[in-house]
């Protein structure tokens, strides 16, 4: 077991056993390079960012894969190592699923949108975009989904956007210091700067 004082660790790459969906992908896309690893449950394919539109389109259209169902789309922030975009796919005909991942460098967060492939990707990408600051190129309606429309400078799920200290938000010490830590909407700076009365709430 790991010690809590150790830094973050990565899971090792374990090649999946033969006969899994990774082999089917190799068959369908012989010229695309990817790393396959056996995750806890599903097979994970790590592909390059440039291959994303082709791989996703073929994953849906090719009858051998037939991954018509986009279950889940999310981002994972690895700080300096970039941000991962994860697509969780499933096929109702073959009853198989796969996780496709691609990594975006931290200074260039662009990836092709999956919304033209799956209609359901629209909202999922809008949420991922606002939470991580990723730009999904070709998205039909790139506006925030859950967050306020003027909140474009903060991407809450990024690791460099930590919580303010609990006592600062709950107590009276909301102020310029807290504003540096968390997001205060435009026009509310003066309210956040006040102290005293609100601490009892």
């Amino acid at each position: 077991m790991t010690s809590p004082h150790e830094g973050p660790q990565e899971a090792p790459i374990v090649p999946p056993p033969p006969g899994t969906i990774a082999d089917t992908f190799r068959e369908v896309l012989p010229d695309v390079e990817f790393t396959a690893t056996q995750g806890t449950g599903d097979v994970i394919l790590i592909i390059g960012r440039a291959d994303v539109p082709r791989v996703l389109q073929l994953a849906k259209d090719d009858p051998r894969l037939d991954l018509k169902y986009l279950r889940c789309l999310l981002g994972i922030d690895h700080m300096e190592a970039g941000i991962e975009v994860v697509y969780q796919l499933y096929s109702f005909t073959h009853k198989h699923g796969v996780t496709i991942k691609t990594r975006l460098p931290a200074d260039d967060l662009h990836v092709a949108s999956a919304a033209p492939v799956w209609k359901g990707a629209d909202w999922l990408e809008r949420e991922t975009a606002e939470m991580f600051g990723i730009v999904f190129d070709g998205h039909p309606n790139p506006v925030p989904l859950l967050l306020p429309e003027d909140m474009t400078d903060h991407h809450p799920l990024r690791k460099d956007n930590p919580f303010a200290q609990v006592e600062e938000w709950q107590g009276s010490r909301l102020g310029p210091e807290a504003a540096k830590l968390g997001h205060i909407p435009a026009g509310y700076e003066s309210i956040a700067g006040e102290s005293g009365e609100e601490s009892s709430e």
Binding site: T2, V86, Q88
Partner: protein, 375 residues
């Protein structure tokens, strides 16, 4: 008057109708702006996020056990199901064995929770349709019998926090089996009562049939799940397709619809309640005695690095937890796959072209829980 003047006189203006966020038909803080031309809806812009509390971000700052409470608050009508998914994700990643008795307790409670959630749907949905009060009262009377069991078991009426990674926090009450047996009998009667009240009611049928239909291809493309998907005719139930926990031990049917309209969604949910009763009845007879937590449960739970996507069949569809661990006692990233959010993406497809009055019915048939949509 020339022809053009006449046309100008008859010309209609599209009107924007704002529904919500404070509106009884939106089942929470959901807002949609309907564009109507006469009585027909020609456009809809949904606005969500009023209840976004950052459950995913908050979970990253808490250790694995503390994160359970956010599952309750996310899916606040099927809390046991949400907790179940969260605990299963941790157990899968950590390789934690769950004792038999705990598995049975969890499945019984999760299935009873599915019934209470669907009772809530039937009551609220009938209110949307115009059966004001009557169905709601009966549904809530029946729901209360089950709610009492939850209260006795967990000590809470809403935010249970009863499941733990590895089992449950304490054992059920001594009269649990008798109470569950009685409630199963009562629930069958309760469902039949609601069935007689609504299912063949002329007004109910007129308001429901052929409204908000969606094709199977579109349903799959939008990522719909649960009763919404099964109403389109696809018997996809994760309890059967990818059996988790001990669901492979029970005999139950997967109800499906044919048209994918509002009425089919209602019928699928009604039948699902009966199937849940069947599962509970089997589980309560099989439930063994024994421990409810693994014998060597660690005081501080630490998971090895890795990631897992755990999904369970919740009342509203596929509820998923994508859990990333980099060692240590807190999740590195926790994504909640919300079935309601995905079901809601198809709202435009279902509402545009229908009457304004039906928009409310269609939204009701999605059975949204805004806590889960916004997280």
């Amino acid at each position: 008057m020339t022809a053009t003047d006449q046309e100008r006189d008859l010309e209609t203006l599209d009107i924007h109708v704002n529904v919500g966020p404070q509106h009884p038909a939106t089942h929470g803080v959901f807002r949609m702006v309907l564009t109507v031309s006469g009585e027909k809806v020609v456009g809809v812009v949904p606005h969500i996020g009023y209840m976004h509390r950052g459950a995913e971000k908050l979970s990253e700052t808490m250790d694995y056990r503390q994160g359970i409470i956010y599952q309750d608050r996310t899916e606040y009508l099927a809390q046991f199901n949400a907790e179940h998914c969260y605990c299963l994700a941790i157990e899968k990643l950590g390789g934690i064995e769950v004792p038999e008795r705990a598995e049975y307790i969890r499945v019984i409670l999760a299935e009873l929770n599915r019934i209470t959630s669907h009772y809530m749907f039937v009551g609220a949905f009938a209110t949307d349709i115009g059966v004001y009060g009557t169905a709601f009262t009966y549904a809530f009377r029946e729901r209360e019998y089950i709610q009492e069991i939850f209260e006795a078991v967990s000590g809470d009426r809403m935010m249970y926090g009863y499941f733990r990674p590895g089992g449950v926090v304490w054992d059920v009450t001594q009269d649990f089996k008798d109470r569950v047996r009685w409630v199963c009998k009562q629930t069958r009667v309760g469902i039949d009562d609601l069935d007689r009240l609504l299912t063949t009611n002329e007004i109910f049928l007129t308001r429901c049939r052929d409204i908000g239909a969606i094709s199977l291809e579109d349903a799959v493309d939008y990522g719909l799940s649960g009763p919404m998907l099964r109403a389109c005719g696809l018997p996809h139930d994760l309890r059967r397709v990818e059996p988790y926990s001990i669901y492979d031990r029970f005999d139950f049917d997967i109800p499906t619809g044919t048209n994918g309209d509002v009425y089919d969604r209602y019928l699928v949910r009604m039948e699902e309640m009966r199937q849940s009763v069947r599962i509970v009845e089997q589980a309560i007879e099989q439930m063994p005695d024994g421990p409810i937590m693994p014998e060597k449960a660690p005081r501080r739970l630490r998971l090895p690095p890795g990631e897992v996507y755990m999904r369970t069949e919740n009342p509203r569809g596929e509820y998923g937890i994508y859990l990333v661990s980099k060692g240590g006692e807190k999740p590195y990233r926790l994504k909640i796959r919300s079935s309601c959010l995905s079901n809601l993406t198809a709202l435009r497809q279902m509402v545009v072209g229908q009457y304004v009055a039906d928009a409310v019915v269609i939204l009701g048939s999605v059975d949204i829980v805004l806590g889960e949509v916004d997280r």
